[in-house]
Each structure stands twice: as structure tokens, then as C-alpha cells.
């Protein structure tokens, strides 16, 4: 046997009694074992034994969903590490940030990784949403998975928002102030909601405790469950969306049409797009190694990029929270600056009505756009109207964000970025 040494050791180990009891199948060497390894392993059984070639095309999916999953894992790992030091106390939180920066071994890099992975997650959720839209992938039978995706988008924003106020710096304090006041503009329940979020009338210890609980347990748990359902549905819908092929066996059996007076096997529950229906065997490849190793490679790549960012750029930490003086201008992170620009015209319209309508429209989208054509291709000609509408909204959001980021200065006044006036430090 001329295999490399690590492989030989692995093969020897998986043939021993102990190795076999753990892994059951060693490195697969036949098609049968390639199937068995996927089914018998806990980590792999989530995935199908065979995947459609189309699902593997990086130019189609860009790997955005997987990247998000890996960012979520990195955030969980670094987040749990940070919890070993962090205390949600208005007295201590900021000092602990300084400890993480200057005292704790690797504390700086781990905090940086957490922050940059968080930023990347917001960015990639947006990109993922664009990908799914421009390829028409939200259409039947994937409508509800798009809705879950919109929910995950909101959760990501919620996690970011609750996260960046834990350091209890100026950004934290004024973000919590502005954010809960926006909630206060919600019709009917606004005032109560604000009181509930803050655990009182002023931004203080109770508010920090509440946002901490939301950030470390409530929102991540909900997100984890929704991610699980999101991925499970991708699998149940037969992998990633793809264009109809002439050879496809289209089989639409409605469940209710099945005879009810007999017991039936699992194969009879198959519907149009379940994994084994509508696929030609020659279009499929074994998940081991084609899918599994691509996924592993992408995971290593994402971790490397986040680590690179964390080593060379430090996460911002503003001055200690000061309830008397908001920084001037007081800016949210980039992903909320479009919203902040809207809010600077009207808190109710910009902070409640426009975002509310936008989220509602996104959730209803797959039920309003029922055209079946143009699925599984980027910028399909049949979808030119939908794509144009989406692009216009996207451009507006980007322009608002750019204005908020670069064209707003002290007192939220208009500035041009190449003539930035110095930040005002004013007294009374």
C-alpha cells in the first residue's frame, strides 16, 4: 500500500476494534461505503448521501449559506469564551473589555473575531438574501424557507444590536437609548414595550442584564433552532433550487389523495421535490467526498479570514458610557446607519412604518410572486420585473447607508466625506 502515512494510520485505527466502534465505517473505498459513511455518522447524517451537481456549483450558490453557518459557529465559540470573563454589570463591563484587550491572553483576538464575525454575518445574510432573490430560489416549494430566512435576518440584527451594547461604552449606551426609544414609537404597545425592554424608565443595570440574557441565550437558541429548520427544509426540498431539466421526472402526488384505509410505506409519501424524486441518477454525485470536503475547505477558509481580520484590525471600543454627553455625531454600526438616516427624518415613519412594511413585504414576497419561471438561474430574463423592483430597494438601502456613514457629521448635519470637520467635543 502506497498511501501516505496519516491515511495508513487512519486506516489501521478504523480497523481496530475501538476505532470501528467509534467510526463504524473507515475511509470509504467503495460506493457502498460512501453511502454508509454518510448515514452512520452523526455529523454527516444531516446531509444526503448523494447531491445534485447543480447544488455543488460555487458560481450558483456562492457558498453563502454555508459561510453563514460557519460564522454562526465561530460566533458561538468565541462568544462562549468571552462569557468566561464578561460580567453584565454597568460598573464592571467596560473594565473587563479593557482587560480583554490588554491583560487576557488572546483576549484581544477573540473579542476581535467575535466582533468581525458578527459584522460579516450581517453582511452575508444580506448577500445570501440577494442570491436567493436573484436566482428565484424562494419559489414553490421553498416559500416558507424564505420566510424563515427573513426571520433569521431579523434575529441576526437583534443579536448584533444586543451584542454591541454589552461593552457598555458610548456606542452601547446611546444605541440602547435610541433603539428602545424607537421601540417606544410602536403603535399601541410602544410605551409598554420600551418599559419591558429597559426593565424600567432609564437605561441602566436592568437594561444591561436584559440585553445580556437576550444576547447569550434567548436569541442564539431561537436562531439555532431556526437554522436547523432552515437547513432541514433545504434538504427536504431536494437540495438547492435548480432549473427544471427536460429529463426530470415530475411527480406531484398530493398527500390527501393517498388511500387512507391501508398502511403505507415511506416511499409513498414522496412528493414532487423530495430528495429522490425528480432527479436523474447521472446528475448526482456522492456527498462523500464531493460535498463533504468542499464544506470542510470552506470552513477552514472562513475561519482563516476571520482570524486574519481579527489579527490586523481591532474591534472598536469607544469611551466609557456617559449618560450626559452623547458622542457627536452619535452613529450606530454601518448596518443600522440607513435606518438612522431614515429615523433622522421621522422616528415613527422611519423607525417603525418603513421597516415594518419592508419586513412584511419580504415575508409575503414568495406568496405574491407566483410566477414559476426563471428558478435556479441568476438574473433570469423572465424575472426582470421582480429583479428590478428588488434592485431599486437594494440601491435605496445602500445609498441611505452610504449617506449615513459618510455624509453625516456633527448634529447629523450634511458633510462631504473629503472635508470632514473634526468631531465636536462640546460643553454646556
Amino acid at each position: 500500500m502506497n498511501a501516505p502515512l496519516p491515511k495508513r494510520i487512519w486506516q489501521w485505527f478504523t480497523r481496530t476494534r475501538v476505532g470501528r466502534s467509534i467510526f463504524r465505517i473507515g475511509l470509504p473505498e467503495s460506493n457502498l461505503e460512501q453511502s454508509q459513511v454518510m448515514v452512520s455518522s452523526f455529523l454527516l447524517h444531516v446531509q444526503p448521501v448523494k447531491v445534485h451537481r447543480h447544488s455543488l456549483r460555487a458560481s450558483y450558490s456562492l457558498g453563502l449559506g454555508l459561510i453563514l453557518l460557519y460564522l454562526f459557529l465561530i460566533l458561538t465559540g468565541t462568544g462562549v469564551l468571552l462569557m468566561f470573563y464578561y460580567v453584565p454589570s454597568t460598573e464592571k463591563a467596560y473594565d473587563i473589555m479593557k482587560d480583554l484587550q490588554y491583560v487576557v491572553s488572546a483576549g484581544l483576538v477573540i473579542r476581535n473575531m467575535h466582533r468581525w464575525a458578527g459584522h460579516l454575518m450581517v453582511l452575508f445574510v444580506l448577500l445570501h438574501m440577494c442570491r436567493v432573490f436573484y436566482t428565484g430560489a424562494y419559489k414553490r416549494p421553498r416559500e416558507f424557507n424564505w420566510v424563515i430566512g427573513v426571520g433569521l435576518f431579523l434575529l441576526t440584527l437583534g443579536l448584533s444590536f444586543t451584542g454591541y451594547l454589552l461593552p457598555w461604552d458610548q456606542l452601547a449606551f446611546w444605541a440602547i437609548t435610541v433603539g428602545t426609544n424607537i421601540a417606544g414609537y410602536a403603535p399601541v404597545i410602544g410605551t409598554k414595550l420600551k418599559y419591558l425592554m429597559l426593565g424600567g424608565n432609564v437605561v441602566g443595570q436592568e437594561a444591561l442584564t436584559r440585553f445580556y440574557a437576550l444576547h447569550v441565550i434567548v436569541l442564539p437558541t431561537v436562531a439555532l433552532l431556526m437554522v436547523a429548520v432552515h437547513l432541514w427544509r433545504v434538504r427536504k426540498d431536494g437540495g438547492l433550487s435548480r432549473p427544471d431539466e427536460p429529463g426530470d421526472i415530475v411527480q406531484q402526488i398530493e398527500l390527501k389523495q393517498l388511500p387512507t384505509n391501508k398502511t403505507y410505506g415511506l416511499m409513498e409519501l414522496a412528493r414532487g421535490t423530495t430528495p429522490q424524486v425528480g432527479k436523474n441518477p447521472e446528475d448526482e454525485v456522492f456527498a462523500w467526498p464531493h460535498l463533504v470536503f468542499r464544506e470542510l475547505l470552506l470552513f477552514l477558509l472562513v475561519t482563516a479570514v476571520v482570524l486574519f481580520l481579527a489579527i490586523f484590525w481591532n474591534a472598536p471600543l469607544e469611551e466609557l458610557a456617559n449618560p450626559i454627553h452623547p458622542p457627536n455625531p452619535a452613529k450606530a454600526p454601518w448596518y443600522f446607519l440607513g435606518l438612522q438616516e431614515l429615523v433622522s427624518y421621522s422616528a415613527f415613519w422611519g423607525g417603525v412604518v418603513v421597516p415594518g412594511l419592508l419586513v412584511t413585504a419580504l415575508m409575503l414576497l414568495p406568496y405574491m410572486d407566483r410566477q414559476r419561471k426563471g428558478v435556479g438561474r441568476w438574473f433570469a430574463r423572465e424575472r426582470v420585473v421582480a429583479n428590478t423592483i428588488f434592485s431599486v430597494c437594494l440601491v435605496i438601502a445602500v445609498v441611505l447607508t452610504i449617506i449615513g456613514t459618510s455624509f453625516r457629521g456633527p448634529n447629523w448635519g450634511w458633510v462631504v466625506p473629503w472635508k470632514q470637520p473634526p468631531a465636536i467635543t462640546e460643553g454646556h
Binding site: N201, P323, A330, S344, H428
Partner: protein
């Protein structure tokens, strides 16, 4: 031994109907009550927050024509001649602390501008800044009550 297999054709007896209905109702009620209790649990009953009534010192501490910012209370104490008023420094838009400008007040967060009377001159603020009641305590100190909102033309005259 086939009593465990449900038989759809069986008629429901009166007793069975009530047992079933009451069972479902009781179960649903327990769940709904638990949910309501959980929400109520999150609403605090006692607040450990600074008092909204506070003494602002002696009237003579404030020179004539002055506008004094009090950090901890986030208010401006305005003296004109022998009149005293108290203006909230919290922007009515989204709660930032406004800054005193040459004429009026500016909010740094979203650019609202207020005049000397606290009225909105420009920007997204929906209402003018609040005025609070100022009275004189028995020991001759200014007493501000942030629970009591008053009109801009209501003064404490000494």
C-alpha cells in the same frame, strides 16, 4: 386487547364529551396562564432609579440670565430676572441629551434644533422639550418635580 387503538366510528358519550372538553380547557388554561405569568414576571414592580423630585440648590446659586445644565438630572435650569424654569435636556425624538447652543438647543444624534422656549425649530423631533414644575421648598431651595410637566410660560417668580 385492542382498546388502545382509537376507533373513529365510536360515538362520544356525554360523559366522554365533558371529560374531553374540560381536559382540553384545563390544559390550555394552564399553558396560557404560565405564558401570561412569564410576561408579567418581566415587568418590574420596584424601580431603583433616581427620584424624579429633587432639590436644585438655592435660587441665588444661579446668576441672572443663566442657563445651567445639571448633568445627573439631565435638565437645564433657566433663570431670567427673578423667574425660574426647568427644561428637560432629553430630546423628544429618541432620547439623546441635547446641547446648549447660542440660541436654543441642538441634539447631536439626529439633528433636531429647539429654540430657547424648547419648541422645535427643525429636525425630526415630534414635540418641543418638556418643561418641569419648579417650586420653592420650605428651606428656600428650588424644588424640581419631573413628574409635573408645565407650559413653557409657567415660571416660579421670587
Amino acid at each position: 386487547m385492542n382498546h388502545s387503538i382509537p376507533d373513529n366510528k365510536k360515538d362520544v358519550s356525554r360523559r366522554g364529551f365533558f371529560q374531553l372538553t374540560l381536559g382540553w380547557l384545563a390544559g390550555s388554561f394552564a399553558v396560557a396562564a404560565s405564558a401570561a405569568g412569564a410576561v408579567r414576571f418581566l415587568v418590574p414592580n420596584v424601580l431603583f432609579e433616581p427620584s424624579l423630585r429633587f432639590k436644585a440648590g438655592k435660587p441665588d446659586d444661579y446668576p441672572d440670565g443663566s442657563v445651567t445644565f445639571m448633568e445627573d438630572e439631565r435638565i437645564f435650569l433657566v433663570r431670567q430676572g427673578n423667574t425660574f424654569r426647568c427644561l428637560s435636556a432629553i430630546c423628544t425624538h429618541l432620547g439623546c441629551t441635547v446641547n446648549r447652543a447660542d440660541h436654543g438647543y441642538h441634539c447631536p444624534c439626529h439633528g433636531s434644533v429647539f429654540d430657547d422656549q424648547g419648541a422645535v425649530k427643525s429636525g425630526p423631533a415630534p414635540r418641543g422639550l418638556e418643561w418641569f414644575q419648579v417650586t420653592l421648598s420650605k428651606d428656600n431651595r428650588l424644588l424640581v418635580d419631573k413628574n409635573q410637566r408645565v407650559a413653557a410660560d409657567k415660571y416660579l417668580v421670587l
